[in-house]
Symmetry: C2
Subunit: 321 residues, 2 copies
């Protein structure tokens, strides 16, 4: 019986592939697979490159998002990957899969949503591709410019403090509502590029929270060869999520995905610099835990330091049923 992708899982398959590819370094590739974005030397410049897909029926269902909101979301989830490296997006390509029966107005509105949000943030749609497909999917590839410091997943050290921007759980709650048949509005993905560029000066590691905080911080731990302890009581839970879920809200918020906040670590010596930055960030920044020595595991503990048992750690595209 051949092994199926669902037996391996998304993240493990990517790890296996990255390890196989990582063996040989290629001239001009400063950072290859395994981070939020690649870093490539092009002529004399250093570019950040990333790609991400939204698939109808997987990331959202028909009717969950207004067309313009869907376009904006496609833009922002990609900008989030550039931001997570401390960079600034500058251009995007859009590859569309569409059904020939799709209304022209709907696709136009999706693209208007994409382009208007991109322009507002100084990013140009420079090209793309359209192909027929059995369902709607939008794959964006984005190019960015690196800050003076590129922030990777691998820089966290024991003793660093763990922070997260904004709040978590709102998207997970909205998806749960939609799946239960309620017309919950899906929240807008935050745009954290300015914050990320500022944070690049102090962060030792950074990642965007796309598949769930515990799992994504786990990627940081594996890349950095450290462990992390998150204090459940410190996790900034979105108000709607807190109201709906009460005591279970922190565990839900820490494992639900698609909030696209930034999770980052700061060495003790740079904490004063972070404090000086706070005013400029224009978003909440919350300390949620600590990096520790040890096997790359993320533990979540309650107010007394007792470990919480999490039913799952985050989203895996290939294991999800």
């Amino acid at each position: 019986v051949p092994r199926r992708l669902r037996d391996v899982g998304e993240h493990e398959w990517i790890n296996l592939l990255s390890r196989r590819l990582g063996g040989r370094s290629v001239a001009g590739v400063l950072i290859g697979p395994g981070d939020d974005a690649a870093v490539v030397r092009i002529g004399g410049a250093v570019a950040l490159l990333t790609t991400d897909t939204l698939v109808e029926g997987v990331h959202f269902r028909d009717g969950w998002l207004a067309p313009a909101a869907l376009g904006r979301r496609a833009f922002r989830v990609n900008a989030s990957d550039i931001a997570a490296m401390g960079g600034r997006p500058i251009s995007a390509l859009v590859a569309l899969e569409v059904q020939p029966t799709m209304a022209v107005n709907r696709l136009d509105a999706i693209m208007r949503g994409f382009v208007s949000d991109a322009r507002r943030h100084g990013v140009a749609l420079v090209g793309g591709n359209v192909t027929r497909g059995p369902h709607f999917a939008i794959t964006v590839s984005m190019t960015g410019i690196a800050s003076a410091r590129v922030v990777r997943r691998r820089g966290a050290r024991a003793g660093d403090q763990v922070f997260v921007t904004g709040s978590l759980g709102a998207m997970g709650l909205a998806v749960r509502g939609r799946l239960a048949g309620r017309r919950t509005e899906l929240p807008t993905v935050p745009y954290r590029v300015d914050a990320a560029v500022a944070l690049a000066a102090v962060a030792s590691a950074m990642i965007d929270v796309s598949d769930g905080l515990v799992q994504d911080l786990g990627h940081v731990c594996r890349a950095s060869r450290v462990a992390a302890r998150i204090e459940a009581g410190r996790v900034p839970v979105a108000p709607a999520c807190r109201r709906a879920l009460g005591a279970g809200a922190a565990a839900f918020a820490a494992t639900a995905g698609e909030d696209y906040e930034l999770c980052f670590t700061v060495p003790p010596r740079r904490l004063p610099a972070l404090d000086r930055l706070r005013r400029r960030l224009r978003c909440r920044v919350t300390r949620i835990g600590t990096i520790e020595a040890g096997r790359p595991i993320v533990r979540m503990v309650d107010a007394r330091g007792r470990p919480l048992v999490l039913r799952h750690r985050g989203f895996d595209h290939l294991r999800a049923r």
Copy 2:
């Protein structure tokens, strides 16, 4: 009744969108939507950017291509877009849509096919994304470096001669065979990057033949505001296609897609330079016609100069049934 994409067609929808986007120029974008690749200034460098998707059930069906051949094809169709601008690809991202039931071995073999062909040509796979989807699709985005001269679609002038590399019709014939239930082998996409970089010194306009010569040369004509006349007897028809179709082979080869040869125009004063280049190109280059003044129409004529009536002009993803 809302207008559907199939009523507008792929190329017309892209034209409409490009025109809407083209109005405002954005700093750093040297060439935006509407060419084979975008040209963007990144820091001090000039990068070529393109994206293209292969969808199972649309571009190929299960079993038509060995996994490694599929990966190689995904690499080469994107390299072809960079080549068509006279550029050289340097890095690629791969966004995958996969079914969780897909065999790990198959996806590994697809990626091995991609990576080994890319490495052989000096191109690095630097990252990507995996998402669950209802079918297999692979979207590649590729970054390249421009030659001294970027060759666009819009540079053709009346009096220029029209050329095409290699031969046409082999892929169209293979697809026709497969659709009829025969086990015809799909030809490998040619790798024309070295030829393209050399041709950039003499070509006034260039495009890759992805959707059919007549239609793709039509894009050159529209962008350049000229007409083109192709002599049917000069079209380099793939031998298998000539054998199978006889008298109708030229019209078939000129409208079947996916050969990924280069079609380019050369001003009369540069024809001697093209002749000097020929030895270096390592592929056949055939003169097939002439650029003329007039409305942007591609006419195909027989040996006596009489126009051939073409049943269709090329592939349109959204009009195809």
